[in-house]
Amino acid sequence: MFKQIETAELGKELRMVVVDTIKELMDENKRVIALDADLGSASGWTTLEGTNKERFFNMGIAEANMVGVAAGLSLTNYIPFIHTFGPFATRRVFDQMFISGGYAGNTINVYGSDPGFAAGPNGGTHTTWEDVALMRMVPNATICDAADEVQMEWIIRTFSHLQGVHYVRGNRKAVHKVYAPGSTFELGKGNLLQEGNDILLVAAGQLVYETLQLAKQLVQEGYSVAVIDMFTIKPLDKELLLAQSKDKKLIITIENHSINGGLGSAVAETLAENGYGIPLQRIGVNERFGQVGTPDFLQAEFGLTTDKIYEQVQPNLANLN
């Protein structure tokens, strides 16, 4: 069961949440193994070397090989976790992930860090707003977008018990807290964070926090707003989505990703295939490449702050009245 937490404080850095969780998993299970592609000091993964030196490998700047080696480790019954920045964990190694991972029936657990605006000063070359879209095309892959530290820890732990290709994206840095410590979740199930009758907001990842702020604002304006944290983007919780969509006048998806192929697309497909003709607005990145700037600058530049999202939904709100 999950419980929300009301605070404006930032949590622990997500990279350290990932590292600390993998460290615990490595201590608990000698089959857990960690690979990083020369970003160990940027991701904190080099600290894994301390306790389990023989089960941490720096693969060098060779992501395709890292994915293939992970597949080979899976064939010898190891449980590999790999890390690199989101674009290199997906776009750059798509065929390796697809064939050596998914098609070959191997287990690869992937942390793609700094998705979307989190790429910050690394700029457009290091930005991915396509990772979810790509991974959705890998049959039976699991895709998660972690809302906060509590959820990230739970996701990493859960991946370690499952076979197959699993991808989680998340900022390296600290993000706002959404859940109380000790919260648990269910893979493939969305979390209904708030109930309401007029508008349904469906978000994932660190924008869940912004979505909750947006919901507050809308409630103050007199709307009745429901919020779902759809942290498992694949498989999508169609049951919850349809149940919550049923009587709504407007559905808005919010994601730090392209509106093509990500959460918004998954929601749109589900609604359309089930005959739900409800107005849908997809908030995300639309036909743009990344650019350089601080994460805060980029979040505003790409329209993903609470204020900028509010501006974008305004015209549709006007139509509701």
Binding site: F57, M59, N65, G68, Q96
Partner: protein
């Protein structure tokens, strides 16, 4: 190696050729050249070097083989069938809808296939991962990685080689089938590989080179590579695409052979008769 073993392995190599040719002719097309060039290699590995239990394909203590040049799948299937991993009648189902023998090896479908390959380059890293896992488990098993010379156009192979050399994973025996041809022509014309032995040595490998049809030489080289400590190892197989049958060796377009005219069909028929006769004779002598 005694004369009897050499004969036994050369018969096994020709059985791979015979069954591959029968399968491909029956289908009307297929990857003949690269299957024939590794026939002696497969015979030495499956017939002598590898620790395997064909009746128990998933035996935990087995050596592994990763056919990274996955298009030689028909040759591997012929070998697996001859070793008893599955019934020979299954060979006739190659590439049929829903078959367990797809064009390129799939570990989830075929008994004896250890890794899914065919998207070229990827098998190299998978073999490196298996070698890592075996090393971590302190097992003395080997992974035999068979790469094509054309396949080594793929950058991922060189990523994997750097990794094997850096971590001194000498339990992964890298074998480069240097048959000098790739799909569109000669490797030297398409993308010159220069000298594989020098290249691999420069990458940090202890490297040997041997003729592709030299059973004694292949076996001795593998023995030598197994004795190497603290260094990655590689065998460059100086082979010929279509190896072992002069007609197919000289056939220009022998990567994927199409059995679509009288001349080629007659050559295939004659080859099948000659191989059957020669195998029978040698088996009788070798009893």
């Amino acid at each position: 190696m005694d004369e009897q073993t050499v004969t036994r392995l050369s018969v096994l190599a020709d059985k791979v050729r015979l069954d591959t040719l029968k399968t491909l002719k029956n289908m009307g097309y297929g990857h003949l050249g690269g299957s024939f060039s590794i026939a002696e290699l497969l015979a030495v590995l499956y017939g002598k070097q590898m620790r395997i239990r064909p009746q128990e394909p998933q035996w935990a203590n087995r050596d592994r083989l990763v056919l990274s040049k996955g298009h030689a799948g028909p040759g591997l299937y012929a070998m697996l069938a001859n070793m008893g991993y599955f019934d020979k009648t299954m060979l006739a189902t190659l590439n049929e809808g829903g078959t367990n023998l797809p064009s390129h090896p799939d570990r989830l479908k075929t008994p004896g296939v250890d890794a899914t390959t065919g998207s070229l380059g990827q098998g190299t890293s998978v073999a490196a991962g298996i070698a890592t896992g075996l090393r971590l488990d302190k097992k003395d098993n080997y992974v035999y990685l068979i790469c094509g010379d054309g396949e080594l156009n793929e950058g991922q192979c060189w990523e994997a080689f750097q990794y094997l050399a850096h971590f001194k994973l000498n339990n992964c025996i890298v074998i480069i089938d240097d048959n000098k041809k790739q799909l569109d022509g000669l490797t030297v014309d398409i993308m010159n590989p220069f000298d594989f032995q020098k290249k691999m040595e420069a990458f940090g490998f202890y490297t040997l080179k041997v003729k592709g049809d030299d059973i004694r030489g292949i076996d001795a080289a593998i023995e030598e590579l197994k004795s190497v400590k603290d260094q990655a190892v590689c065998l460059v197989l100086d082979s010929i695409k279509g190896q072992g049958v002069p007609y197919f060796e000289t056939l220009n377009d022998n990567h994927s052979v199409k059995f679509n005219n009288d001349e080629i069909n007659q050559a295939a028929e004659e080859t099948i008769v000659a191989l059957e006769k020669s195998i029978k004779e040698r088996e009788q002598v070798n009893v």
